[in-house]
Symmetry: C2
DNA sequence: TGCAGATGTGCAGTCCCTGCAGTATGTGCG
DNA sequence: CGCACATACTGCAGGGACTGCACATCTGCA
């Protein structure tokens, strides 16, 4: 047994939002225990080596039950449940003032800052650094976050479906975050993720500032 | 039998690059036949419903052989082989003049233009429109293309490993392409992908142009 | 023609994931 | 408290993806 209840409880203490009842709490505990056990197994054995059966034995549930909590084995490692996404959407929506891109990058910047403070995210990023082949399997998470951002940007203006500018802002912010994370993973001894994010953001802004209008192919300087 | 040799031959005639020998040609033919059969099966039955065994029967190879051509069932639908990626890298590398972002967006713009002309890409996009749940499964393709772009940008300046600005430019260009594709899929009757791409690119540039310097949170007017 | 390397194939096996049916546990109400 | 209801948990059976291994076949080259 690798993951213990102690580990689980320490992982994201304080993230306990509302407690709608014992059933919900137990479900949340099981969810986190599975995630924690999976992260530990993946760290020790490798992401491809651990099996669903193993982490189910770690948290003492039936293998069949695993798939009542997560749609796939991959999903347990990098998981953003609907509540977290909705919270992110709300955070963007409530950020009044400034352009959509300003709001999106502000929220994403705080997200980058949280990467090192959240224990779970730290473990996930360490795993990602050790096994770069996981990049592809978590791309859908980035897409989900991007959609949540775009939804928040739309809600900020009273709309229910994101406009093109909202999608552009969300995609740009996420692209910045992705590059920042990659750069930080490549050089963990360098600046913290928040600083890297701001650096990348400035570089992106400068790059677009000197961009000639498109449509005519390669135009001179 | 759904996919026929005729379909296969007509799919991307003219893409026959060098013919290094009968063995290579036969391998390429099998590869394309598998891809074509898979696309047709996915279109008719749905991406989750068709089996490897079926498309292997279509092109008359052993199921075991399938995994000598593709690493997974998902890979056969949206496939960029190493040669195509290397070609893309070269295209970026040979595009002299202008900033990295200008070079990247120029190449990506041509790529967007080719989306409607290439029969294979057309079939892939139609499949993507009919089954949006595939978005997540092809994210690694976008990542691979992004890496190829960054590599080309580095090579353009004589470097062998992309610098941060190269990664930023590649990520930005791919983010623009991704948004453009999504928008075009949502409204196929609208402008062609190339026009949508240029539109999204301008919107991204404008968004960054009015972006306040990061680090102080929301300080907009 | 003969050799070396690459490719195709069959087999056995592991693991992911699913539908179904039955049981246990938490929840709300009289 | 006791009862009905809603969820969650579990075992079972099965399909299908994917792999390692050994062997057959084919191609390029001398």
């Amino acid at each position: 047994m690798i993951a213990t209840d102690v580990t689980v409880a320490a992982d994201d203490a304080g993230q306990d939002r509302e407690c709608p009842g014992r059933r919900e709490r137990k479900k949340l505990r099981t969810r986190r225990a599975l995630r924690s056990a999976a992260l530990e197994r993946a760290r020790v054995q490798g992401p491809a080596a651990f099996t669903v059966e193993e982490i189910c034995a770690d948290v003492d549930i039936a293998p069949r039950t695993f798939f009542n909590h997560f749609p796939s084995k991959d999903a347990v490692l990098f998981d953003w449940d609907g509540a977290a996404l909705a919270e992110l959407t709300g955070e963007v929506r409530d950020r009044a003032g400034g352009s959509p891109l300003a709001a999106a990058t502000a929220v994403v910047g705080e997200l980058a800052a949280a990467l090192t403070t959240s224990p779970i995210w730290h473990r996930q990023l360490e795993l990602l650094r050790a096994h770069p082949e996981l990049h592809g399997r978590i791309a859908h998470v980035g897409r989900a976050v991007e959609d949540a951002l775009a939804l928040g940007l739309a809600a900020r203006e009273g709309a229910t479906v994101p406009a093109l500018d909202h999608r552009v802002a969300a995609a740009a912010a996420m692209a910045v975050l992705q590059v920042a994370i990659s750069a930080w993973l490549a050089d963990p001894a360098g600046p913290d993720p928040r600083a890297v994010h701001d650096d990348v953001l400035v570089r992106a802004r400068d790059a677009f500032a000197s961009l000639p209008p498109p449509g005519q192919g390669a135009g001179g300087p």
